[in-house]
């Protein structure tokens, strides 16, 4: 981990994340303010609870920001360029799988994804990658369709499955 240059050290990450949680806090407060945050004749209004939760998130985020960013900064390693690449190589194809599953159906998309993720990115021999992909896809189909009786989207191959 250490020989690859850092693109985000721990202190920067702590600051960034406390800003994100602070922003969530503000969003929750804003969302709650769209309703009444006070009392009605029947007790606290719809915004009462979220408004206070939002305030707590914001306050605790500010403490974290000050503590981790300035009082007790830790300039240690967090994400190096190598880490970022490994994570992107896992994450982006997975997002691709999710998108592809919307129009190819889950089973076909999974087979394609596994071939690419294992064969291309994982650099496993193509024959082996294709075998794993097909076996997994068929096994999942059998499990969900017959064992659990839970049909999943099949996309354009749908009619074909009916024949099987």
């Amino acid at each position: 981990m250490s020989d690859s240059p850092q693109i985000l050290n721990r202190r920067a990450a702590e600051i960034l994340f406390s800003l994100i949680t602070g922003a969530v806090g503000i969003a929750v407060i804003k969302g709650a303010l769209e309703m009444d945050v006070g009392w009605t004749s029947s007790g606290p209004d719809a915004g009462y609870f979220p408004f206070r939760v939002g305030l707590i998130i914001l306050a605790a985020s500010i403490v974290n920001l000050v503590q981790r960013g300035f009082l007790k900064p830790d300039d240690g390693d967090y994400i190096s360029r190598k880490d970022a690449k490994a994570m992107a190589l896992f994450f982006i194809p997975l997002v691709g799988l999710a998108l592809a599953s919307l129009w190819l159906g889950l089973y076909l998309a999974i087979a394609l994804y596994l071939v690419l993720a294992i064969g291309l990115i994982g650099k496993v021999a193509w024959g082996k990658a294709i075998t794993i992909a097909l076996t997994t896809s068929v096994a999942l189909y059998m499990t969900f369709e017959f064992l659990f009786n839970l049909p999943l989207p099949k996309g354009p191959l749908g009619p074909l499955f009916g024949v099987l």
Partner: protein, 502 residues
């Protein structure tokens, strides 16, 4: 007491059907796999199969899901000992002495000790659940919305005080969980909250998607960052060593009992298995006689966390069933399941569905024994699973996450949420924001808010109502003390810093 055991026998009648026994073994086996694989743990193992149980009978469903939990707890210890990779957060403490033992060629001894201690502690936990069931439900009858709100706050406060790590990070986690639970239709006023004009958010955020994102995608991202350098140690089980260890095992009775007590306490009071195992390891290290080299492979260092981990896991079922108060992330997921199956936790559950409650308790005896046996039998197999390169396992787990997010409600919007929570989970995990309190807050969010509103109705808006009755007053005062603890230590640090600089 006698009534409890009479109920237990009825429970055995419910649990001991071939179908239920088959579910126990299947659940334990699946749990073992889930516990061994990185990126999958007990909470998301259970949430992966939860959507599949929507159509099942609740008794069968809970037996299957809890069996997964027991299997995953044990599976987590296997990889801790053999590979120094905790399969579960609650088995991190097992690596401290388990892996050194395995490195010294004592893998068989370490595993045998771990499994036997886990089995022993789990059974003590179930026994405790059995004996206390009646009195805890009677205690729960005293609870009005006021006490419920107070006890939920106490649960959150105890994570802040005893969770370890930064209390302010724990507070952020809880706040995030509560906000996620608020999204969508408000059950009391009917208004739509925090949807930011996204129509898909009106039905709310399913905690299952959050769990799969956090524990699945988030953990995989973390694993990508530090590729598993699995250096398996010799994994052939040596039967004579196993028998010898089993004979020596009772000698560690003091550590066994101590660890089990810590676990039972942390399981019933919200603390959860992870905190219990660390606490138990710490206690064993401090109080074991003879100046043993903890951290270099002493048997007590394996027994202490394992007993606490498992007794906390089983005894956590009691507050979950009687009060609807889960003390671990997995128990929170199970509680969510209960609500989905249309069951309301609480004393009435014991009255109206004794078959469910006692069937579950009875099944816990058997499934924990099954977990120990299956674990012993399958160690060589799992050692081989772990030698499959991560470039193959990683994408497969990714596929499992996508499918399970899809099965939650068949909505493509859940896939988007899955990725968002995956990234959020990665940051939270690596920056030490605790995840269990967030899941807990998400599952308890609606109920805490309802309890709060009902209390306010009863008191006509006065907050002093939480301090009026002895039970709620005790709970509220404890909550305030727990919440004050981090503030006090913060002030003390600031004071020290001032004193040092002058």
């Amino acid at each position: 007491m006698i009534e409890n055991f009479a109920n237990l026998f009825t429970g055995f009648g419910v649990a001991l059907t071939p179908y239920h026994i088959a579910l126990m073994f299947a659940g334990v086996a699946f749990g073992l796999v889930v516990g061994v694989l990185p990126g999958l743990g007990a909470p998301n193992g259970v949430s992966l199969l939860l959507p599949l149980t929507f159509a099942m009978d609740p008794v069968a469903a809970i037996i299957l899901l809890t069996s997964i939990y027991w299997g995953a707890l044990i599976g987590g210890s296997i990889t801790s000992i053999l590979f120094n990779i905790p399969g579960e957060p609650s088995s991190v403490a097992t690596t401290f002495d388990g892996y050194p033992m395995a490195r010294q060629g004592k893998a068989t001894e370490a595993l045998t000790l771990a499994f036997l201690s886990a089995g022993f502690a789990a059974l003590v936990g179930v026994l405790l659940v059995t004996t206390l069931a009646k009195s805890v439900t009677q205690f729960a009858l005293l609870f009005s919305p006021i006490e419920y709100f107070a006890v939920f706050m106490l649960a959150f406060a105890s994570f802040v005080a005893f969770g370890g790590g930064s209390p302010f990070k724990t507070i952020v986690s809880i706040g995030l969980g509560l906000s996620f639970a608020t999204v969508g239709m408000d059950t009391i006023s009917g208004s739509v909250r925090l949807t930011f004009d996204v129509p898909d958010l009106i039905k709310g955020i399913s905690f299952l998607v959050v769990v799969i994102g956090f524990y699945g995608i988030g953990e995989l991202l973390e694993t990508m960052q530090e590729p598993l350098a699995a250096k398996p140690v010799a994994t052939r089980l040596d039967w004579s060593a196993m028998m010898r260890t089993a004979r020596e095992w009772p000698r560690y009775w003091l550590t066994l009992i101590r660890g089990t007590l810590v676990g039972c306490w942390m399981g019933i009071a919200p603390g959860g298995p992870t905190a219990a195992s660390f606490m138990s390891y710490g206690i064993a290290k401090r109080f074991t006689r003879g100046n043993k080299p903890f951290g270099k492979g002493v048997p007590e260092g394996v027994i202490a966390p394992e007993t606490a981990d498992h007794s906390a896991g089983t005894s956590a079922m009691l507050p979950m069933l009687a009060l609807g108060l889960p003390s671990s992330a997995t128990a929170a997921v199970l509680l969510g399941g209960l609500m989905i199956w249309g069951l309301t936790p609480g004393p009435m559950l014991f009255k109206e569905r004794p078959d469910f409650v006692w069937g579950l308790i009875a099944s816990m005896y058997l499934s924990n024994v099954a977990a120990v046996i299956l674990a012993l039998a399958s160690v060589p197999l799992f050692a081989r699973v772990m030698s499959v390169p991560f470039t193959i396992i990683g994408p497969m787990i990714g596929v499992v996450c996508i499918i399970s997010a899809w099965t939650v409600s068949g909505s493509s919007f859940d896939l988007l949420l899955l990725f968002i929570f995956g990234i959020l989970g990665f940051f939270m995990k690596t920056l030490n924001y605790p995840i269990a309190p967030m899941i807990l807050a998400m599952v308890l969010g609606d109920r805490s808010e309802d309890a709060f509103r009902q209390s306010m109705l009863l008191s006509q808006g006065s907050l002093t109502v939480f301090f009026e009755r002895p039970l709620s007053a005790t709970l509220s005062v404890l909550t305030i003390i727990f919440l004050a603890m981090p503030l006090v230590s913060l002030l003390r640090q600031a004071f020290k810093r001032n004193a040092a600089s002058t």
